[in-house]
């Protein structure tokens, strides 16, 4: 067989290009990590890792950089958002793919795509207009608490709404790819529709559900604008849902203007970014492990 050298060359070039593209993609996270670590190095000259992560004292002017309030604030807001949104997403994905008529599921899918495309600042404004006052006027008084409404709770609620389209989209795709024959098998064995969903389809979907949760977590943990607008941004360790908090992304965004002036502050912000990066990485690595564990069926 004689393949013209021209075609052979083209094949080689394309192969090289795909390799190069893959290499860039693989390199990106490393580049990001190295860049952040390099810039954070200054901070480590005067502080230990333990001090930085577990001290609550944040006074940049005095050279004190305790990230604990920000880490705790971030985790609270994110966990709250996931606790609210994960069950909603799971149940609605099941309904949309298993019970809803085709027309309804089309409408919902379109709505989800629209939600996913709304800029986060819009969610922030909406949160300030509706969620914050509701928390302040109705939710907090129920527990005998006085608050402006700018709180972990508001942040979590706004965030949970923001991540719904992303998690839901993945979940719908996952349930759609489960073959119908599996449901048929379960039904023919005498399972009700819900029993089939609960023990057969959910088991089949489990690795995908975990992946969707991981994706949602990463999005929520890094979300900046909308949370910053409703969470209060007070540097303290929140003790209740109605306390104000100050998540890491908000810290970076709010201190951005000081970045160039003080080298140590710049280094601290880079370290904040590094924490975000590492937490998301660790969380997803853990989930990946669970996914591999559960993928055997």
């Amino acid at each position: 067989m004689n393949i013209s050298s021209n075609r052979r060359t083209r094949d080689k070039i394309i192969t090289c290009l795909t390799y190069a593209a893959m290499f860039v993609v693989l390199l990106l996270p490393f580049a990001l990590f190295i860049g952040l670590a390099f810039k954070s190095e200054l901070l480590f000259r005067d502080h230990s890792l333990g001090q930085l992560l577990f001290s609550s004292s944040w006074r940049p002017s005095a050279g004190e950089f305790g990230f604990k309030p920000f880490i705790v604030g971030s985790l609270y807001v994110t966990l709250l958002a996931m606790i609210i949104s994960a069950p909603i997403c799971l149940l609605s994905a099941i309904h949309i793919t298993q019970y809803a008529p085709a027309r309804v599921s089309k409408v919902v899918t379109t709505a989800i795509d629209i939600l996913a495309g709304i800029p986060s600042v819009v969610y922030g404004v909406w949160g300030m207009m509706f969620v914050v006052p509701i928390v302040s006027r109705y939710a907090a008084p129920l527990f005998g608490v006085q608050t402006t409404g700018f709180s972990i709770l508001s942040g979590g609620v706004v965030l949970s709404i923001m991540v719904v389209p992303f998690i839901l989209n993945i979940l719908i795709e996952i349930y759609r790819t489960i073959p119908k024959e599996l449901t048929e098998a379960a039904l023919s064995l005498g399972a009700t529709r819900w029993e089939a969903v609960r023990s057969i389809l959910n088991r089949k979907a489990l690795p995908g559900i975990l992946a969707a949760v991981g994706f949602g977590f990463a999005r929520a943990f890094g979300e900046t604008m909308a949370v910053l607008m409703v969470v209060g941004n007070a540097i303290r360790i929140p003790e209740s849902l109605f306390d104000q908090g100050y998540p890491l992304p908000a810290l970076i965004a709010n201190s951005y203007s000081e970045l160039a002036s003080v080298p140590e502050v710049e280094s601290a912000l880079m370290f904040a970014a590094l924490i975000l990066f590492v937490v998301v990485l660790l969380f997803n690595a853990t989930l990946r492990w669970f996914i591999i564990k559960t993928e055997k069926y």
Partner: protein, 253 residues
């Protein structure tokens, strides 16, 4: 029909959207025989089969008139306890779809839905049904490994055992050998021939030779209609209808 019938399809019409898929089907399927539904692809064989245990519920926009009776119980009807009715009918699909569980639980799942069993009873029953499909010797040492790791032929036998475990009267099979290698196909065919003593089998196929080998009765369908239903020997040796003759001569393939 000389035999007692167990499934009676009575003036069944089925529409999917505006498409008329099944047209006035009237057949009676004899008890404890192997009845083959034969016909070219797209003639409505599988749809007819899925009507029998109402898996059509899973497909939106389907409209059914007429009815099917299992014994005396109607399949379509608001008062029908469809879960109980489905339990009377085992199902074998074109490709095996093991439940996302280990081998043992694939059998035990249906048993647990059926009633309460002790650990030992479950163990015995699982072994019994795996033996019934000649799978026990091959899997007895790895009952706890995922069912999807079995070969596709083993999976199909596992699915058969899983269906038998809920103690059905009827087994519905939709081209159960079409994804299998010849050896596994033969194993399933032999199983079917043996099962026909105690169960009513309804099998959809488009493989003429397979129908010839194992059918007691043949329902021949073409374009959504039943053209004829006869004992297998008569059907193949003395086809009455023009379409049947053409099909047997290979005209539709």
């Amino acid at each position: 029909m000389e035999n007692q019938s167990i499934i009676k399809v009575d003036h069944l019409d089925l529409y999917a959207g505006k498409t008329h898929i099944l047209k006035d089907i009237n057949i009676e399927i004899p008890k404890n025989k192997l009845t083959v539904i034969l016909g070219p692809s797209g003639c409505g064989k599988t749809t007819l089969l899925k009507c029998m245990n109402r898996l059509t519920d899973l497909t939106p926009d389907i409209k059914v008139t007429g009815n099917i009776f299992i014994g005396k119980q109607p399949v379509f009807g608001a008062k029908t306890d469809i879960v109980a009715l489905r339990r009377k009918m085992g199902l074998l699909s074109q490709r095996p779809f093991p439940l996302p569980m280990n081998i043992y639980n694939n059998i035990a799942y249906g048993l647990k839905l059926r009633g309460k069993y002790s650990r030992t009873e479950l163990n015995d029953l699982v072994e019994h049904y795996l033996r019934q499909v000649n799978l026990w010797e091959e899997v007895k040492d790895r009952l706890r490994s995922p069912a999807v790791r079995l070969s596709i032929g083993q999976q199909q036998r596992l699915c058969l055992a899983r269906g038998l475990a809920v103690n059905p009267e009827i087994i519905l099979a939709d081209e159960p050998t079409s994804a299998l290698d010849p050896v596994s196909s033969e194993a399933i065919e032999k199983q079917f021939a043996a099962l026909a003593k105690d169960y009513t089998l309804v099998m959809v196929t488009h493989v003429l030779r397979q129908a010839r080998r194992i059918a007691d009765y043949v329902v021949f369908m073409y374009l959504g209609e039943v053209i004829e239903m006869r004992p297998a020997r008569e059907f193949f040796e003395d086809p009455r209808e023009e379409q049947t003759k053409k099909y047997l001569a290979g005209a539709f393939n």
